[in-house]
């Protein structure tokens, strides 16, 4: 099913999304990957605030290429989400709800998603030039020294995604493959 979603990603909206849904996201999202997540979780452990309000926030696991003159952002496809598995439950525990990336997640992340009504979206890995087209604004908000891994606030319009794992724990990687194989029997 095709759905157009306006961010932020509230619990009510999250519950309407199901694994396999084709989704177009519009609104503000935040970028972070390995080093940024490590810093954010260390900050939370010290009792500090995050550089952005995590309530109902969606985080895009991406490290873009530098923007050419005239570009909002360089190529900006998803990185492998599994490397953020160590941090994702902590991020959801403070209110973050949406995650955009690619690749498998650990069972503990799926459990946290069920508990906090999180949604894991897949963007097409390797389609960085195409995905950059839906990013209309890009602002560096923290950890500038991390270069491509710095925290950025993005405004996206109709970002094409697929729900990989929904808030009930249903998983397109398992169900999609099984459905395809069943169709060949």
């Amino acid at each position: 099913m095709e759905k157009h979603i306006q961010l932020p990603l509230t619990e009510e909206v999250a519950k309407t999304l199901h694994a396999g849904d084709s989704v177009y996201l519009t609104g503000t999202i935040y970028t972070s990957r390995d080093a940024g997540h490590k810093r954010m979780c260390e900050a939370l452990a010290r009792g500090e605030e995050l550089p952005f309000d995590p309530t109902d926030a969606t985080i895009y696991y991406v490290g873009p290429t530098p923007a050419k003159p005239g570009q909002v952002i360089g190529s900006a496809g998803p990185t492998t989400s599994g490397r953020m598995d160590a941090y994702a439950p902590t991020m959801m525990s403070v209110g973050a709800r949406g995650m955009i990336g690619k690749g498998a997640r650990l069972p503990e992340v799926v459990e946290a998603m069920k508990k906090y009504h999180g949604v894991y979206f897949g963007a097409i890995g390797g389609a960085g030039a195409l995905l950059a087209k839906c990013i209309k604004k890009c602002e560096l908000i923290a950890y500038e020294d991390l270069g491509a891994e710095a925290l950025r606030k993005l405004y996206v319009e109709d970002m094409p995604l697929v729900v990989i794992i929904d808030s009930e724990g249903k998983n397109l990687y398992e169900d999609g493959k099984a459905a395809y194989l069943a169709s060949k029997k």
């Binding site: 690619k102 390797g126 030039a129 270069g147």
Partner: protein, 280 residues
């Protein structure tokens, strides 16, 4: 004896870093289009269409196909009658990478220490592989390698008694474990034989070979075809959403090995399998 200036090597590496990241090789483009034509699963068709649109945008707008512009793997086949003058070879290659990644607006993805981390800021050092060959030319190949797929690669030191079935099972197991992580449809590079280190290098070299080119030994050409077919029956599909197109190609390279061993390495690459070559 022919003299080649180190500066020439820098210039070629700079150019190849940029071009390899913006223009997907013709053979990989062709393989993706052929797979799209054969794909019968709807969600997979949609993903392959977007992948095709993406490499077309990159080519037309001179932007990187993927944001992971990789570690710069640089292969030099240096003719034994060449004398490199006017600078240090490794530094000349690194300078080419430094300039290419700067001028091409490519991402700097290298950390200076594997444990303590810290970005080097210019994507150096290159992963440099040199080979001395007959002649008086230098063949330069730049293959930017992303790590989403590199992380899903594996090597195993088999006993010879494991035989060809052991190797087949290992290839399938590695691809199945990789699943959606390496951005399928993937290209699979397989090295068989040599020593532990040479075997891994064979697998990397297999990824630099055209996806249209089969192993010249019919035994291994048949194995390439058989394993590609088996991989494409796993059902992983483009991006792991299900479908027929899990791999675009599987290339095997081999070397003689020890009487006691049968090493096998599987180096996984994504649908953005990049490499560009120029001869100086």
């Amino acid at each position: 004896m022919r003299e080649i200036q180190a500066q020439q090597i820098t210039d070629v590496v700079e150019k190849l870093c940029i071009e390899a990241n913006q223009y997907l090789p013709e053979d990989v483009q062709g393989a993706i289009r052929r797979c799209r034509a054969c794909e019968d699963w709807e969600i997979a068709q949609g993903v392959l269409d977007k992948i095709i649109t993406n490499f077309e945008i990159a080519r037309e707008e001179n932007v990187p196909i993927c944001q992971d512009t990789g570690m710069a793997c640089v292969f030099l086949e240096i003719g034994q009658d060449v004398h490199i003058v006017g600078g240090d070879l490794s530094e000349a290659v690194d300078e080419g990478v430094r300039r290419g990644y700067d001028k091409g607006y490519l991402r700097k993805s290298v950390v200076k220490d594997p444990v303590r981390r810290g970005n080097t800021g210019d994507n150096t050092p290159a992963m440099l592989y040199t080979e001395i060959v007959p002649g008086e030319q230098i063949k330069v190949t730049v293959g930017p390698k992303g790590f989403g797929s590199e992380n899903m690669s594996a090597i195993r030191m088999f006993k010879p008694s494991a035989g060809i079935e052991g190797i087949k099972d290992f290839i399938l197991e590695t691809v199945e474990t990789a699943g959606p992580n390496p951005c399928p449809p993937m290209v699979v590079g397989v090295g068989i034989g040599g020593t532990f280190d040479k075997c891994a290098l064979l697998a990397k070299k297999a990824l630099m070979r055209s996806t249209d080119e089969r192993n010249p030994d019919p035994y291994y050409a048949d194995l390439e075809a058989e394993m590609l077919e088996k991989i494409n029956k796993l059902g992983i599909g483009p991006q792991g959403f299900g479908g027929k197109t899990t791999a675009l190609a599987l290339n095997i390279e081999t070397l003689p090995t020890h009487i006691a061993g049968m090493p096998c390495a599987v180096n996984i690459n994504c649908h953005v399998t990049r490499h560009k070559t120029e001869v100086i």
